[in-house]
């Protein structure tokens, strides 16, 4: 951390002053994003986690709007908040996991995880401090709109686009296959642990 601070001191505004000139909406949004994402990982109740995550996605969509990526903002809401998270919620409900069933991990594990994640954060920020250069601002009107995106997607990225279709197909088939109940599907679990009900 000391290294980080010293790096900051070298390369511009320090950690506190860098927030001073920011627009209020951005600050509020960011604050909410971080808060809700923290709740996602710390909440003991999975349902709360899902709900917090959906909220996070909403805030991120708001960021997209701020960034003039309107199409993405909408898609994010539809796909993530709408589809994926509902899927999560649905599975939770289906398995009746709303209670706090998760085994508690020991403290040292939490500390280890925090240290590891923290050091990752530190390193990535430090990396930016060391190598980051001011990106030339080159805003182009309307690249976040469907029209512009569609043009790029169906010209330069048409092959990957088609490939994602295949990926979806595969995922769909896989999901269906996995979901199918089989007679003898306890292969994963040794008998003596008696997992099969």
């Amino acid at each position: 951390m000391l290294a980080l601070i010293s790096l900051n001191a070298k390369s511009g505004p320090n950690f506190i002053t860098m927030f001073q000139n920011l627009p209020i909406p951005f600050l509020i949004l960011s604050f909410l994003t971080i808060l809700s994402s923290l709740y996602v990982v710390t909440s003991k109740n999975p349902v709360h986690s899902v709900l917090a995550l959906i909220f996070t996605f909403f805030t991120i969509s708001a960021h997209y709007v701020l960034l003039n990526a309107q199409f993405l903002a909408v898609v994010n809401l539809i796909v993530y908040a709408g589809a994926i998270m509902v899927l999560f919620l649905f599975v939770l409900m289906l398995l009746n996991l709303s209670k706090e069933t998760e085994p508690v991990k020991s403290n040292w594990w939490g500390i280890a995880a925090a240290i590891t994640a923290g050091s990752m954060l530190l390193i990535v920020t430090a990396a930016f401090q060391v190598t980051g250069e001011a990106v030339a601002k080159n805003p182009v009107e309307g690249i976040g709109l469907v029209k512009a995106l569609g043009k790029v997607l169906f010209t330069r990225f048409v092959v990957p686009f088609e490939l994602t279709g295949i990926l979806f197909l595969a995922a769909m088939v896989g999901a269906v296959l996995l979901g199918k109940r089989e007679k003898n599907n306890a292969v994963l679990i040794p008998k003596e642990e008696g997992g099969n009900s």
Binding site: A113, T116, S119, M120, V130, T131
Partner: protein, 639 residues
């Protein structure tokens, strides 16, 4: 002719060694004898060629091949027959022949007779290489070779573990001396750049290549070798033990020839020794102390061969006194006479042992005079010769040593005279106890004691004659200038070559008046008379018998136990060495080093166990490791 002379015994060795076991005993015996006899005859012929009236030669030199030529090292396999070598060769082959002959009878019962003769022949060969080599390397070959033969022959009766031990002791003690000799050789080579006697000595003589310190170092290192071979303090203890070998071996190797190799070495290196008075002093004092010590121990020994062994050590000490005083001729003279009478005594004792059915303890003997007349007579002559009975060979040679000591240092003379006097006591003690008095052995009936066969008594007789007249080789000058000093004239012959005489430097001239000489003679004779009368009174008139070792008291006990030197050596060298070996084996090699290596191995195991714990299948851990890994990777790239 020279080569043939040297290689005849080797041929004998090869024949006996390879096919000896298929030959009848007599054949292999006579074969071995013939080889040495042939060698003797050739030696006489060579000697005549060397000293022929018309055109005397300094030496006959013969190079066979280059033994080694590497870098700065050049060693020829070459022989040099000069006057010193000639004298030694004659002793070796002459006495060798007699002892071979004697052995045919002495060893006739032994199954390994052919082997015995093979070893003896090999010994003669090595001894010839020693004295005939034309450089120090050749000397070293022979030096080691005779040591080996000595080992083989001491341990000849290999079934006896103690004999084997004695043999190894002899070899190892000799090797200690050899190491000194070897280092001396290295020093010679690095100083003078050659091993060849002629080149070397002319360089020593003319050049100022080396400081006197270096010469002293060389002389002392060579003397260490001589100590080992000639059984001087501190390396003498092997010689009495070496009596484990068959008696002819004791006569040939441990009395007449091999043990005098040390004397030969010093005489040969006279040029170097003469430049180092300090080394000479050391040689003299070592010789003196050895002479007295061995004589004292000899007083209380009851094994007939042990007495003779200590006597040999003592006489060798006397020779070194002479060398230390610069009386090289006297030393060589004593080598010759000593070879005669000591071989005689040993062979005589062998005859006694043979007659007594391998009994060696003189307390078990007595009164053998009547049963073994020839042995008795010859033994008497030998005893008289060694104790200095006037006008026998030992008288002249010993007196010459004493006189040179007198001229050099009165104290040394006194002590040497004492040593010579003690000789009289122990020799007569042994002689009287063995041949006079009453027969005391209860295991063998007196009637069974027999005189030895002719084959054994003949060499005795020959040697007895030589012991009587041997003094003629180098008569003192008070007997007349014309006939005296033969040996000295022989050795200091100067043919006018680059390096001429064996003895380059004049002897420390014995400038004594005739009166003084006569006085000294009188002292020596009176010491002899006292010894004779005292022992005769004690052992013949009173008929007392020496006590057993266990009954000895006070000083006698110390002497009977040989001053506890063997025990002291055991404590000081053998035991520490063995425990050092054990400690190193157990702690350093097994524990420290091996466990260090095994530590690497078990460390590897431990590490792999640790790593396999990491691979426990738990995905959370994997995740953690993955993230840590990525972090490290990034961090590494970053800084």
């Amino acid at each position: 002719m020279l080569t043939l002379m040297i290689f005849l015994p080797l041929i004998g060795f090869l024949i006996n060694g390879l096919v000896g076991r298929f030959l009848p005993k007599n054949v292999s015996g006579w074969l071995g004898t013939a080889a040495v006899l042939g060698s003797f005859i050739l030696a006489v012929m060579n000697f005549n060629a060397l000293t022929a009236e018309a055109g005397q030669l300094e030496s006959i030199h013969q190079k066979l091949f280059t033994f080694l030529h590497v870098g700065s090292l050049h060693v020829d396999f070459a022989f040099q027959f000069d006057r010193l070598s000639a004298v030694m060769t004659l002793i070796i082959t002459g006495i060798g022949t007699l002892i071979h002959m004697y052995s045919i009878a002495y060893m006739h019962e032994d199954d390994g007779l052919y082997k015995f003769f093979a070893y003896l022949n090999l010994f003669i060969f090595n001894m010839l290489v020693l004295v005939l080599g034309s450089n120090y390397m050749m000397l070293f070959f022979g030096w080691e070779g005779v040591g080996l033969c000595s080992y083989l022959l001491i341990g000849f009766w290999y079934k006896n573990v103690d004999f084997g031990k004695a043999a190894r002791k002899a070899f190892v003690m000799n090797r200690i001396g050899d190491l000194g000799l070897l280092l001396g050789l290295f020093l010679i080579y690095s100083t003078y750049g050659t091993f060849e006697y002629q080149d070397l000595f002319s360089r020593v003589f003319t050049g100022t290549d080396a400081s006197s310190n270096v010469n002293t170092a060389i002389a002392l290192l060579l003397f260490i070798g001589a100590m080992g071979k000639s059984a001087q303090i501190p390396l003498y203890t092997w010689l009495p033990d070496a009596m484990a070998g068959p008696t002819p071996v004791s006569a040939l190797i441990h009395a007449a020839t091999m043990v005098t190799a040390g004397i030969y070495l010093v005489i040969r290196s006279e040029a170097i020794y003469a430049l180092s008075p300090f080394a000479n002093e050391i040689v003299m004092w070592i010789g003196l102390s050895t002479s007295i010590l061995a004589a004292l121990i000899g007083l209380k020994q009851n094994d007939i061969k042990k007495v003779l062994a200590y006597s040999t050590v003592s006489q060798l000490g006397l020779m070194f006194i002479a060398l230390g005083c610069g009386a090289y001729t006297a030393a060589l003279f004593h080598v010759i006479t000593h070879a005669f009478f000591k071989a005689l005594l040993f062979l005589g004792s062998g005859s006694v042992i043979h007659g007594m059915h391998h009994e060696q303890d003189i307390r078990q003997m007595g009164g053998l005079r009547k049963k073994m007349p020839i042995t008795y007579l010859t033994f008497l002559i030998g005893t008289l010769a060694i104790t200095g009975f006037p006008f026998l060979s030992g008288f002249f040679s010993k007196d010459e040593i004493l006189m040179s000591a007198f001229a050099h240092n009165k104290l040394v003379f006194g002590l040497a005279l004492m040593s010579a006097g003690i000789t009289g006591f122990y020799m007569f003690r042994m002689f009287f106890v063995t041949f006079h008095g009453t027969y005391r052995n209860h295991h063998h009936a007196y009637e069974k004691v027999h005189e030895s066969p002719l084959l054994m008594t003949l060499p005795l007789l020959v040697l007895a004659v030589l012991s009587v007249i041997g003094g003629a080789v180098n008569l003192p000058h008070y007997l007349g200038e014309g006939i005296s000093g033969g040996l000295h004239h022989l050795l200091s012959f100067d043919g006018g070559g680059q390096f001429s005489p064996i003895l380059i430097y004049p002897e420390h001239a014995i400038e004594l008046s005739h009166t003084a000489e006569i006085a000294l003679l009188a002292m020596a004779v009176s010491v002899f008379v006292i010894a004779f009368l005292y022992t005769r009174n004690k052992y013949v008139v009173k008929g007392s018998v020496p006590e057993a070792d266990a009954d000895q008291q006070g000083m006698g006990k110390v002497l009977a136990n040989k001053f506890y030197v063997d025990e002291a050596y055991d404590m000081a060298f053998v035991a520490p060495l063995e425990s050092a070996s054990d400690v190193i084996t157990e702690y350093v090699d097994e524990k420290a080093l091996k466990s260090a290596v095994d530590g690497v191995g078990t460390g590897g195991y431990g590490l792999s166990k640790l790593l396999s714990k990491i691979q426990n299948g738990n995905i959370e851990y994997y995740l953690l490791y993955m993230v840590i890994g990525i972090s490290l990777l990034l961090a590494f790239n970053l800084f």
